[in-house]
Subunit: 481 residues, 2 copies
């Protein structure tokens, strides 16, 4: 006999207590993504406090689904995603499983350079925890004050330190998860080497809640650098920016911990909306600007000397037109602030289109030229706001409405046109239409269009094998067949 | 109607030419593993020259299998594996697909720090290719003169530089493969970031030829260090060795590129069988010895100064009883030679048992004590020859027959007893019974016994989904259900 939605909610409430299994009332905080792109309607929002409770929730939902109720589960972390991967649709038949109550630090192994933490730990808290022990957890991104590690893992988050430390997957030694049978797999591990079968950890990381729920992870730690310093550099072409990147990688090696690029128009937008922010170099004087971060494992003096050595070589090679070195941590922080305010300046300018793309870094200049050219053919007055993690070949190639146009109208009518123009160029360079944000519900049609069909077929086979009833996040990531 | 074995061989010969699809005659080079543990009987050994030819071979075998012939495919690289993952069984019904003719370098992108190469490229050739361009491909292991990158990827090979650069999977940006439908997936990519669905690359890497055939890969390159230097250090306990590791990681950070440990008995065996090799420090004077490699991104002088700084601090902390620093590259090479001769000395001493285990590095001392204790209970006179990649928590905890005993008899009668004693202790420390060698046909029973059953269930589901007819390497990795 079919379990009804009401019966399932009652069951979830009896498992977790009514406070932690809510249905009805104002659930906006879980039903709407933070960018307010879409508000769904959840059957319930549940907040388990342990892995066993997560498993019990999955088992209850699975039993209901097997009985005929068309229920599904949307795992949610800090709800800071950008692609609608963690919020429910409007059906009223999805159970949001929030991991935010699972915040325990289960182990901290200083000698092994690892820590085991639960999925609901806020990223910034983990950074601080490592720092208190004189160590570094290098994952760093704009949402770090509210995103949680479970979400970082489910989406394989990137951020600003990828050029040195890799993406979230590269920082994870092992995971604990609940699969679609409601079974717990304890794959937590402080091991650096373990060749005993398929790497389920890497399969789960980046699967956006469609194959299981990550409940805990063992994470890599690094020694804290002795000193970190920054420079703000003007270049007259992106070709020079890419040559500078190669030079920096050669000279600074693993000391190169950040390499962000911003085209002039992106900084002009910051100047317009945040006039109090002082540019280290007049934004009118360069086609693009680089925020370069160097971390030294020895001393402040050496950090400065090494950075200055690089800049000298870069000036000599004709790669730079101007440059400013941060004289202290405060100045370095201000440089990062400008970089991070581009997103806010874009928001202040009005609704716009975000494109989180990647190509091999060597192709960046040619890609940008071609993408602007193609975009201009179809949307001649649209404004490209281009910036991003050049060191990883990852650009936020965003598009703002023409000067004076209505932003909402522009977004509504031009989104598809812009995406197709840009993503076609991305594809022609062997690039990705989603470098670090993921696919979620927002970019499923892009996946259908741009993903290699053989890869898509294998992805579908894996989903069908591990989640045959499509219990986990059925409307995210994989396009409908 | 069933395609006969003879018909399949004819078909393969017409696809590749008789020279490249051999059946009958002496095929020992492909049928026997290099350690001569087992010699199988292949239906055919085929050597495709291109990805299209690999796909055609898979399609032919698939059609034969679908018609009722119980054929299967064993992908083979350099045939240097240690666990019988790349050689056929005795059935005469397996087609060995050797990748060794696919040796093209398809692209070398210096600016993107990547190269795209075919599966049959010999590892050492790739190291040399990178070096000629002033770059580093850091994968390094004993078999590098004959192993090929396809096999390194299929087994996620480790080696001596893992402490700094990670395992093979960490050095791979993308792969091209042929799946069990005979389809080609071109997932070659110079991208550092690409969040568009399940990470098929990481699923394939380490799957030991059971999910598909890797035909090419895009690999990460690094700047060459400016200088590399080594020290040979004596410690009186493994506890001190692990404390030294932590100190080295703190002081040298990413400059620590090697951290090998060898217990006294391992070096005594080298002294016995290779009396011409000169130990940097009398092996009688320490319980264990560390070969520490440091790479500097600036200069030879700084390399020496940083290494000496570390040793000073380690002596002060009472971690070292003696130490020798290589005065030149030749001395450094001699230190590595001793380390690498342990395996040969073991072979010279006679047949023995190999255990390639890992635990968190912080647990190494307690693990070694406990494992020796448990082994002594069941095999009181067996000799432990313990050495390995301590920086990765990976030990080759090998066992030699008692002094004077018949080695073959010892191996035949005591293998299971030794394995169980040691692997049970490994499991109690959350460790792995196969850190870097893989599972193959040799350790399937260990996988059945020690792998978490939930993980094993998910692995089986994935295998069933991607290779429903069990076409690829059916007797390797996954235990029979």
């Amino acid at each position: 006999m079919t379990i009804t939605a009401e019966q399932l909610v009652e069951q979830l409430q009896s498992l977790l207590g009514a406070d932690h299994a809510r249905s009805g009332g104002d659930l906006t905080a879980w039903e709407e993504d933070w960018r307010q792109l879409a508000k769904g309607k959840a059957l319930a929002v549940v907040s388990p406090a342990s892995t066993a409770e997560v498993a019990a929730v999955v088992q209850a939902c699975l039993a209901a689904k097997e009985s005929g109720l068309n229920v599904s589960i949307v795992p949610q972390g800090g709800n800071t995603g950008l692609v609608l991967g963690g919020t429910p649709d409007a059906s009223g038949l999805q159970v949001v499983v929030s991991l935010k109550r699972m915040q325990a630090v289960r182990a901290f192994d200083k000698q092994n350079l690892s820590m085991t933490v639960e999925a609901g730990c806020i990223l910034q808290n983990l950074q601080n925890l490592a720092a208190e022990q004189g160590l570094l957890f290098p994952l760093s991104l704009a949402a770090e004050g509210s995103c949680v590690i479970g979400g970082n893992l489910a989406t394989n988050a990137g951020g600003t330190q990828v050029v040195r430390y890799g993406n979230t997957r590269d920082l994870c030694l092992g995971i604990e998860m609940v699969n679609a049978k409601g079974e717990i797999w304890n794959g937590l591990s402080g091991l650096r080497k373990n060749n005993t079968g398929y790497d389920l950890r890497h399969l789960m990381i980046g699967s956006e809640g469609t194959l299981g729920i990550i409940t805990a992870a063992t994470l890599k730690l690094y020694p804290q650098p002795a000193a970190t310093t920054c420079a703000w550099l003007a270049v007259d072409t992106l070709d020079h920016a890419v040559e500078l990147l190669a030079l920096a990688q050669q000279q600074l090696a693993s000391g190169l911990t950040g390499f962000e690029a911003m085209e002039q128009d992106a900084l002009k937008l910051v100047e317009k909306h945040m006039p109090h922010m002082r540019m280290p170099i007049d934004a009118s004087t360069g086609a693009a600007f680089i925020l370069l971060e160097y971390s030294d494992d020895e001393s402040e003096d050496r950090a400065r000397a090494r950075l200055e050595g690089l800049l000298e070589a870069a000036f000599e090679a004709g790669l730079l037109t101007d440059g400013a070195v941060a004289q202290n941590l405060d100045q370095a922080q201000k440089m990062w602030d400008i970089r991070e305010h581009i997103t806010l300046a874009q928001a202040a300018e009005g609704l716009h289109l975000k494109h989180d793309i990647s190509v091999p870094s060597s192709s960046i200049p040619a890609f940008v030229r071609k993408a602007k050219e193609e975009l201009a053919k179809v949307l001649p007055d649209a404004r490209v706001i281009n910036f991003g993690h050049l060191g990883d070949g990852n650009l936020h190639f965003n598009v703002q409405a023409p000067e004076g146009a209505n932003p909402r109208e522009f977004v509504d009518t031009c989104q598809q046109t812009a995406e197709q123009a840009i993503y076609d160029v991305v594809a022609s360079f062997g690039g990705s239409f989603s470098a670090e944000h993921g696919v979620g519900r927002l970019k499923r049609h892009d996946l259908a269009h741009y993903k290699d069909p053989v890869a898509l077929g294998m992805m579908r086979a894996i989903k069908g094998a591990l989640d045959p009833l499509n219990l986990f996040n059925p409307h995210a990531l994989l396009p409908d067949a």
